[in-house]
């Protein structure tokens, strides 16, 4: 086969692959379109008033007419969720590292962490608002709190998920504790860590919004409250979609980082 004909083979293959991918996505696209159409139809058929449940077209209209309002309230929520994500997870990871190196620290502080986790976040929020006022700080702290616990638990498990045989090997090699940490424990913990980060990427948005419900005049959470009290249902739906979009975006970013960092599979026994 000549080089030229080989070259011409590439394009149909690429096109074919693209068509395959579209075909793979087709069911979900069809399902979404179908559901939206059903929603529109039900609202129209039963003449449901807009303030009760807006039709998809009404929601799109709300996005158009309140675009700027949504946009300017999107940023504070993004900021709070992101900073909460970073601080909450950073503290959790550092604590996990400490716990794995000090049994005493683990015995002293792990129960406290479990206790803090049992307090409903809704109940903590007003306390933090009283202490820190109406600014960004309490929202960031609540977003951080909600991220903190799953990451702590998973990271401790991940750092300990090293087989005894691997630890024996490192001992035979006279590896120091630091070497065991950097060469073995850290990588072993990554799959566990990312499982927790994926949870945190959506819950940090929940944390920020819940915090905004309690005395705030900015952010998607505040907008949800305002739209609800004023019966602006289309705006409410548009806000909820915006919040969901934010969570999905953060989730995708974490998944992307995971795919980038974890390129190995744990081989099974034999």
């Amino acid at each position: 086969m000549s080089v030229v004909s080989q070259d011409s083979n590439v394009r149909p293959a690429g096109l074919f692959e693209f068509a395959e991918r579209v075909r793979y996505r087709l069911p979900v696209v069809a399902a979404v379109v179908g559901l939206l159409a059903a929603w529109q139809f039900i609202v129209w058929f039963f003449s449901i008033p807009t303030y009760m449940a807006p039709s998809p077209i009404d929601v799109v209209g709300a996005f158009r007419s309140n675009g700027w309002m949504l946009f300017s309230n999107f940023w504070p929520t993004l900021y709070e969720a992101l900073l909460g994500f970073i601080f909450g997870n950073a503290v959790a990871i550092l604590l996990a590292v400490w716990f794995v190196h000090s049994r005493l620290a683990e015995r002293a502080f792990y129960p406290i962490a479990v206790f803090i986790n049992t307090i409903p976040i809704i109940a903590v929020a007003p306390i933090l608002v009283l202490i820190f006022g109406n600014g960004l700080a309490p929202k960031i702290i609540i977003a951080a709190l909600i991220c903190f616990f799953p990451t702590l638990v998973n990271m401790v498990r991940g750092l300990k998920a090293v087989s005894p045989a691997t630890l024996d090997l490192m001992r035979i090699l006279s590896a120091s504790n630091g070497e065991v940490f950097w060469k073995v424990r850290l990588q072993s913990s990554l799959p566990f860590l990312f499982a927790a980060l994926k949870i945190a990427s959506t819950t940090c948005v929940i944390g920020a919004i819940v915090a905004e419900w309690i005395g705030s005049n900015f952010g998607l959470g505040a907008l949800i409250i305002e739209a609800t009290y004023n019966f602006r249902a289309p705006l409410l739906y548009a806000t909820v979609f915006t919040a969901a979009l934010l969570a999905v975006t953060l989730f995708s970013l974490v998944s992307f980082a995971e795919a980038r960092l974890i390129h190995w599979k744990t081989p099974d026994a034999h």
Partner: protein, 274 residues
């Protein structure tokens, strides 16, 4: 690590009568190993004495739970001696470990799944004050174990036999004087195991390293070893330290010869008595 209980032992107690200490790679004298204390104490090894000559190939066999792994791990400083003494090339096991005098191959390959084959072989050079730069030895060793061209494969992309080959290359990269192997081919199919047996003998003859090899297989024990250490259980003790008088190089087909069959039969009888 809690101290080597160093009881002073009169010399000349080795079972094969060898007394010259500079000839021994490993000498174990009146070794007891107990796990736990009080009522739950388990005596894994009781009064074990054995002398392993430098450069020799010793296989170890015995019923399950008789303490083969424990003996190997005591030599490797993974398990402390409760009583008695272990001398590895004139040092305590801990010093011998720090001097990188021995390597250990486990039943599982214990490769780090995120490291390629060659990076796994490099691991011993990177930790424990190994401090040695890669002078091409890891690549050469992968060639020796028949994995040329697979340097960059991840463990998940290798078969069980290939992973164990990587583990052997990793064990050899520190140029150990002693190679301790605990059922290294136990999880492999017979064809792969046979092939690796032959290759291990070749590596042994090329490197001149001392090998102590634990196995469950009578043919493997007889085929590989110059001597077979038979352990009995409850408590773990030396049943017999038997010489295998078959010349090297040995071929897999030698296992069908009368001499080999007789040795296997003898080993089988010993194990039945254990």
């Amino acid at each position: 690590m809690i101290g080597q209980a160093a009881a002073v032992i009169p010399s000349g107690v080795s079972p094969d009568g060898m007394t010259s200490p500079d000839q021994a790679a490993v000498s174990v004298r009146n070794l007891d190993v107990r796990f736990g204390d009080g009522e739950n104490a388990v005596t894994a090894l009781s009064d074990v004495s054995v002398e392993i000559k430098a450069g020799s190939f010793v296989t170890m066999i015995g019923p399950s739970g008789c303490g083969k792994s424990t003996l190997l791990r005591a030599i490797a400083d993974l398990v402390p001696a409760s009583e008695g003494e272990i001398v590895v090339l004139g040092h305590t096991p801990a010093d011998a470990r720090r001097d990188r005098n021995f390597s250990f191959v486990f039943q599982e390959a214990t490769l780090l799944p995120w490291r390629s084959a060659i990076d796994n072989v490099r691991l011993p050079l990177e930790v424990g004050g190994g401090g040695t730069v890669d002078d091409g030895e890891p690549a050469r060793l992968l060639e020796v174990v028949g994995l040329a061209g697979r340097e960059n494969a991840l463990p998940s992309e290798l078969s069980g036999g290939m992973r164990q080959r990587v583990a052997i290359a990793r064990a050899l990269v520190t140029k150990p004087k002693i190679l301790l192997m605990d059922e290294p081919f136990g999880a492999l199919d017979e064809i792969t195991r046979d092939k690796l047996n032959e290759e291990l003998l070749r590596i042994w003859q090329e490197t001149g390293t001392t090998i102590v090899f634990v196995t469950h297989s009578i043919p493997e024990a007889a085929f590989l070893g110059q001597q077979v250490l038979v352990l009995a259980s409850h408590p773990g003790r030396v049943k017999e330290f038997m010489a295998v008088d078959l010349p090297y190089p040995r071929r897999l087909t030698d296992r069908d010869t009368l001499a080999f069959v007789e040795i296997s039969a003898h080993l089988r009888r010993l194990l039945e008595e254990c």
